[in-house]
């Protein structure tokens, strides 16, 4: 399977009369986009805005972030099985508006958080303060059930990203990245002496606002499944998780999954990368046992020497993470876990909801309880009420000058458990 990601570097977004890319500037015809999105009768109103790096702008509550792209060669337009006819993703040529992002906001329930600050302290913690963001704020018609509301906003974001991505169809890319990998037999023949490594990507799969999708299938309904890494970075996996702001994997992060890209980088050099196992994080204990047994079995059948497991969320998924680790280590497979920590304001509490002695190699992506101070914004895109939720965590979190303290868990992507962020670990 061979995929070319052809990056067109975007240096600004403007709203204008046409949707086009010229000299790295993406212009978007907001009216045309709004009309397109309003073809969905469930949408009453759409507001389009732009947030640029450095501006004193706050976006809240963020639902998803999506990278605008267009497939110019090969099967599977957009997000197959979701916004377009089902095709297998992972092959062909894709033009990417690199540096641009579509950000959807919409308050489906009152307690949603998820903030992107484009400047100052907040900007340090979220990777989406560095992208030029086209913010799509969707108001649904009245009386829509929350799960329909969630679906409406999810689909609108994907459609908007497809519409914007189309602007890059005929533009020459600034750089071309090639991702190519053959069958296990072929790759093992090429690299007989390199250790075989599998990536297990766990996804929250638990119900409203806590879902993930592969080719449009809700991952609550799947057994762990093997993907070619190209499928995920070509739009096969999308996010329906809108509660865990700091460690949810947005669609953008699936499209640019840093674990996959880093493993690809090492493929043929230090490792033989065998692929991705997508593993649902279920809610029942028997569901978890089944999933973890099945994941370990797939790794064993593939002949993995090593496995990297990334988590999504905190709480009950910690149990899955450690059960998978235990099963793999006991089968003689070296296992590295990637997770964030919930270790209190001072960082001294036990970081995970569960422990196991087999977890001997763990990469921390940050402490979700770390407190940061966000300055007042000049402009807020989205819903002011959500700021009240953000600022309502404890007494004294709102300062007189309007700045507020919040825990990192409110900041989008701040402790990304696939490492798509800016925290690094320091050894003492």
């Amino acid at each position: 399977m061979k995929l070319e990601l052809r990056r067109i570097h975007i240096k600004d977004i403007q709203l204008g009369n046409e949707t086009a890319v010229k000299d790295g500037v993406l212009t978007v015809n907001a009216e045309e986009l709004i009309n397109l999105l309003k073809e969905d009768e469930r949408i009453k109103d759409v507001k389009i805005d732009v947030a640029r790096p450095g501006e004193k702008t706050r976006i809240i509550p963020v639902k998803d972030v999506i990278e605008p792209r267009v497939k110019i060669e090969g099967k599977g337009k957009g997000f197959p099985g979701v916004t377009s006819k089902m095709e297998q993703a992972g092959e062909g040529k894709v033009n990417v508006l690199y540096g641009a992002a579509v950000v959807t906001v919409g308050d489906i329930v009152g307690f949603q958080e998820g903030v992107i600050d484009m400047w100052g302290e907040g900007a340090k913690w979220t990777p989406f303060s560095k992208t030029y963001n086209l913010v799509v704020d969707i108001t649904p018609v009245e009386g829509l059930q929350p799960h329909i509301h969630e679906e409406t906003v999810r689909l609108a974001g994907l459609k908007a990203a497809e519409y914007v991505g189309e602007a890059g169809r005929d533009v020459e890319p600034d750089e071309v990245l090639v991702y190519e990998m053959g069958s296990h037999a072929e790759e093992s023949k090429k690299y007989p002496d390199l250790p075989k490594v599998v990536y297990v990507e766990m996804l929250i799969s638990q119900g409203l606002l806590h879902d993930g999708y592969v080719y449009g299938v809700n991952t609550q309904q799947i057994l762990p499944t093997l993907l070619h890494p190209n499928e995920e970075i070509d739009g096969a996996v999308i996010s329906g998780n809108c509660v865990a702001a700091c460690d949810k994997i947005t669609t953008y992060q699936h499209q640019n999954n840093s674990v996959i890209l880093d493993l690809y980088e090492q493929h043929g050099k230090t490792i033989n990368f065998l692929g991705v196992i997508l593993t649902p994080e279920l809610t029942t204990l028997d569901g978890k046992f089944r999933t973890c047994d099945y994941t370990a079995k797939l790794c064993k059948m593939l002949g993995a020497d090593g496995v990297i497991v990334s988590e999504e969320g905190y709480g009950n998924p910690d149990s899955d993470l450690l059960m998978i680790c235990k099963r793999l280590e006991n089968a003689g497979i070296k296992t590295v876990l990637i997770t964030d920590e919930c270790s209190g304001w001072d960082g001294m509490s036990q970081p995970l909801a569960d422990t196991t002695k087999e977890a001997v190699a763990v990469v921390s992506t940050g402490n979700v309880s770390h407190v940061v101070t966000l300055e007042p914004a000049d402009k807020v895109i989205g819903d002011d009420k959500a700021i009240a939720t953000l600022a309502g965590g404890w007494e004294g979190c709102l300062e007189e000058d309007g700045s507020m303290k919040c825990e990192l868990n409110a900041v989008i992507g701040s402790t990304s458990e696939i490492g798509y962020h800016y925290c690094t670990a320091k050894l003492y």
Binding site: Q206, Q220, T284, Q350, G392, W394
Partner: protein, 128 residues
């Protein structure tokens, strides 16, 4: 629903109390729900759903519903470990935070939705 399934929902969520018959209603907090589940698991009741949610935000919820199963002949030690470590994590997390009561109604709604998904998952595993 689920005549062949033997389960009870330990909950402090009034919405769940209204919607389901198989309820052990706790007139108390999220932590009180965890403590009752712990007592029942120590008495031999099977733990069906994980005591904690999947995100920090949901752990700030004032409401929680947890599914337990039938009483077993022996105490399940894995289940004991899970409920005990969940209580410890909950207390750790809530050291400085209070449950988010401003959004109680939405939390009651989401707890009910997540419970519904959990029961569907439970049914898929046991009935299919």
């Amino acid at each position: 629903m689920d005549k062949s399934l033997n389960y009870k929902i330990v909950t402090n969520n009034p919405r769940v109390k209204e919607n389901y018959k198989e309820v052990i209603f706790i007139d108390g907090s999220f932590e009180d729900v965890l403590l009752r589940v712990r007592d029942l698991v120590h008495k031999g009741y099977e733990l069906i759903s994980h005591p904690l949610g999947a995100s920090i935000r949901v752990i700030f919820s004032p409401y929680r519903s947890i599914i337990i199963g039938k009483k077993l002949n022996e105490i399940n030690e894995t289940h004991v470990e899970i409920i005990e470590s969940s209580i410890q994590s909950y207390r750790n997390l809530m050291q400085r935070r209070k449950p988010d009561t401003k959004n109680s109604e939405d939390y009651a709604f989401i707890d009910n939705e997540l419970l519904k998904s959990s029961l569907e998952e439970f049914r898929r595993i046991y009935i299919n």
